[in-house]
């Protein structure tokens, strides 16, 4: 257990340095004059001018050598200072805290809802493989997964906002605003994971140990609960951990469509405005989130799967 945590901590530190460095290099490689892009982010399209760009340049010292700016960033990072946004002038930590609070709500409920959809559907389809529900689930999953998250979101808006008028189209402020973005992400995640759960279930139902359990006298329900579910939860959870990359990708589109003030939206704006401290901070936090969730998955595997404890 301690070994898992220590190795994850090492990964986290290495990730922080490499993600920040890569972001720094890549942003500098983007075409166009940085001072002009930052001035556009700050003062808007109509007010961007060479005078504004020069003022930005003088204020931020952008003409200092890149290496010097990099070393300053690295020094600040070691002391835990992520700097201030070049566009808004607010501390990056403050902005990230704000954005993360929104994205975490979205991510948490999306993962939970995805699990609540994927596990029951997958278990049912696995137990009743090659039947009508199984085939229907395959077609639905393929349909949902082949849509860009954006289209799926629009489709849900048309059904639940326009036709049924149950939920607001976009915005934030209370629980009802979160339902459609959460559902969009959850459906997109569950579309793949329910198939993984279904295949694991099918494998377990056809296994020798399941037949043995039945032979020794357990009912189907008892054998399913004791021998199939534990064998399905482990790979299912591990897969959902990997899927988080997809979640981060989906968050950028979903937040823009539903006007949700999270980190995905912040990231896309930071790219357009060349807001390097915001970009580095966002990439860092997303990377750490990724490591943290994978650590949680590892820990849960450790407790759910007796084999890992035996190995250790």
């Amino acid at each position: 257990m301690l070994k898992i945590l220590l190795s994850r901590l090492g990964q986290c530190l290495l990730m922080a340095w490499s993600v920040g460095t890569l972001t720094f290099i890549l942003t500098r490689l983007l075409p166009g004059d940085m001072a002009y892009k930052i001035a556009t982010g700050r003062y808007g399209d109509d007010a961007v001018s060479t005078a504004a760009a020069n003022a930005v340049n003088a204020e931020l010292g952008l003409d200092r050598p890149a290496f010097q700016q990099y070393l300053v960033w690295l020094g600040d990072l070691i002391t835990g200072d992520l700097g201030t946004s070049l566009v808004t002038g607010a501390p990056v930590v403050h902005e990230l805290k704000n954005q993360m609070s929104f994205t975490l709500v979205l991510a948490f409920w999306a993962i939970l809802a995805a699990a609540l959809i994927a596990f029951p559907v997958g278990l049912l389809c696995g137990a009743k493989a090659e039947t009508v529900p199984d085939k229907a689930s395959l077609i639905t999953s393929t349909f949902i997964r082949s849509q860009p998250v954006f289209c799926l979101g629009l489709l849900l808006i048309f059904i639940f906002s326009m036709e049924l008028n149950w939920f607001p189209v976009a915005g934030f402020g209370s629980a009802e605003y979160a339902v459609l973005p959460v559902l969009t992400l959850a459906l997109s995640l569950a579309a793949v994971s329910n198939r993984v759960v279904r295949n694991s279930t099918r494998q377990a139902v056809n296994s020798a140990y399941f037949h043995f359990a039945r032979t020794k006298g357990l009912s189907y329900a008892q054998a399913f609960t004791r021998h199939v579910i534990p064998n399905v939860i482990v790979p299912g959870l591990a897969f959902m951990g990997i899927q988080l990359i997809g979640l981060i990708e989906g968050v950028i589109m979903v937040e823009s469509l539903f006007a949700w003030p999270g980190i995905g939206h912040g990231l896309s704006h930071a790219v357009f405005a060349r807001d390097i401290p915001m970009l580095q901070g966002t990439a860092l936090v997303m990377g750490m989130l990724f490591v943290a969730i994978n650590t949680l998955v590892d820990i849960s595997q450790h407790y759910l799967d007796p084999r890992t404890r035996l190995e250790n």
Partner: protein, 511 residues
């Protein structure tokens, strides 16, 4: 899952959905637009706070672009236009309860003029307090449109308590009919009415602005009643909303013109015949009707119909004439070859055009122009960029052509823009480039020093027609602003100068 468990699961799911059904309509006015206020600083996001009516400026602007009293009741200059005296409105209260006086105006403007603004901030050399309700500005050179600069959002008057250490923004304390209560940059501004507003409190109690990043989202928000007013809709969204009986669509010309900026110093564009040919090859009517879905949006001059005497309503449309364009290009030495492109001295007539993504129609218009110029034998490569590529390309000289939507309302008196852009070969970053016309330069200088008499209007007309002949910029379309309101909103009116949402004039329909 067994049947009873399935039932429990479905029950829980449906109760969750029902619990989340939106609350009934409230007394807050919900607005959505694409504008993203990044911080509290009027230099960055002041355009949003004047629209929300939280902050106000010394000078205001009416629907026709005339300057009218704002926080100042009157102003006058000395004979040589270098010293301007403003008399402040008495009894104006800031949202923190303090009274506006000459010192608070001096402080606000001293801070504002130290930051970038869409006009030359270094024009003011001194701000002097004459008496508690009179302020005087000394300029480094004569400048007739000076009062119009003080209508720009960057020059809003704030309470001294708004500024913290090093004059950084600590809070946004203005004088408007609404005061800010909550701010989540760049997504949300909440405001409530200011009870001690000098003209009495507004009817609508509170306002909630949410940034709706996409035109589709905003259109759906007003359609479902989630938003009461949405701004900046694109043509497809507008067409959809026109079918809805519960939504009113408002279409209005604003002082913004979509135009092609040309680098007249470029060897391919320095010949006026080439510039005229490029203008003749553009089918403006097709762009107005096919892309913008607005009849009559085709531009025949630089300034649009909402710009008072700067627009000459007697001018005929700029007709499309491919044959004449071809003749002019031939005369300029550009001969057609078999590949359909014109060449001179072995070099092709190929140009690059920069445009930007924030105004989605620009890229569509750019590709239409690409096809239309191609018919005349001109090859065009379109580059989608960030808006800053235009001033940046102007300043380093690499820009050939650019398609942009120029805002002529930043300083409501176009004379300010003309003085900045049309009096030197350098031109303006959003205006002409490496272009020189002694007659135009002289007219602009005469207008700047003259008085609005009969000769003034004659000069204005001569200026407009000279610009149309020499084509330093090619006007394409006058800008139309599309907004929509839900049926419960009464007294909505759109400010063509986009200075105010005019919330204080609105009310909800009584049931």
């Amino acid at each position: 899952m067994t049947a009873p468990r399935q039932i429990i699961f479905l029950f829980l799911l449906s109760s969750f959905i029902l619990a989340c059904t939106p609350a009934p309509k409230d007394t807050t006015l919900h607005i959505s637009g694409p504008f993203e206020p990044v911080n509290l600083d009027p230099a960055s996001a002041g355009y949003m706070y004047t629209r929300m009516q939280i902050i106000e400026t010394l000078v205001d602007v009416d629907n026709d672009g005339n300057l009218i009293p704002g926080l100042a009741t009157s102003w006058k200059s000395n004979a040589d236009l270098t010293r301007w005296t403003f008399h402040l409105r008495p009894g104006v209260t800031f949202h923190d309860g303090t009274l506006m006086d000459a010192e608070s105006v001096r402080k606000s403007l001293a801070v504002a003029l130290g930051k970038p603004a869409p006009f030359p901030v270094d024009i003011v050399t001194n701000i002097e307090i004459v008496d508690p309700l009179t302020v005087s500005f000394t300029l480094k050179s004569p400048y007739r449109p000076f009062p119009s600069l003080l209508s720009n959002y960057t020059t809003a008057i704030l309470s001294p308590a708004s500024f913290g250490k090093f004059n950084r923004m600590k809070a946004l304390i203005g004088t408007g009919p609404y005061e800010i209560t909550d701010f989540i940059p760049p997504h949300n501004i909440k405001a409530k009415r200011f009870e001690k507003y000098r003209n009495g409190p507004a009817t609508i109690e509170s306002v909630d602005y949410v940034t709706g990043h996409r035109s589709e989202t905003r259109a759906l928000m007003v359609r479902t009643g989630q938003a009461d007013i949405v701004f900046n809709l694109d043509p497809p969204a507008t067409e959809m909303l026109k079918q809805d009986p519960d939504v009113n669509v408002h279409t209005r010309f604003i002082p913004r013109t979509t135009l092609v900026k040309l680098n007249s110093g470029n060897e391919k564009l320095s010949d006026v015949r080439v510039r005229q040919a490029l203008s003749l090859a553009i089918d403006r009517q097709a762009i107005a009707e096919g892309i913008l879905h607005v009849k009559g949006a085709e531009a025949n001059q630089l300034f649009g119909p909402s710009m008072g005497t700067w627009h000459d309503a007697s001018l005929p449309p700029l007709a499309t004439n491919i044959e004449k364009a071809k003749t002019l290009l031939n005369e300029a030495g550009w001969k057609l070859r078999d590949d359909g492109i014109r060449y001179r001295d072995g070099k092709p007539l190929s140009l690059s055009m920069i445009t930007y993504a924030n105004r989605p129609e620009l890229i569509t218009i750019a590709t239409a122009i690409q096809a239309q110029w191609r018919e005349a034998g001109v090859e065009l490569a379109v580059h989608m960029e960030n808006a800053s590529a235009i001033p940046s390309g102007h300043s380093d000289g690499t820009l050939e052509t650019a398609l942009l939507a120029r805002n002529f309302a930043n300083i409501p008196d176009p004379l300010g823009i003309l003085l900045a852009d049309f009096t030197s070969v350098e031109g303006g970053e959003w205006g002409p480039m490496n272009w020189s016309n002694d007659r135009v330069f002289s007219i602009v200088n005469q207008l700047a020093s003259g008085k609005p008499d009969d000769n003034y209007y004659v000069l204005q007309k001569e200026l407009i027609s000279t610009l149309n002949e020499d084509m330093p910029l090619i006007p394409v379309a006058f800008y139309v602003q599309q907004s929509a309101t839900s049926s419960r909103v009464r007294n909505f009116s759109f400010d063509p100068y986009e200075r105010s949402f005019r919330i204080d004039q609105m009310r909800f329909q009584s049931k």
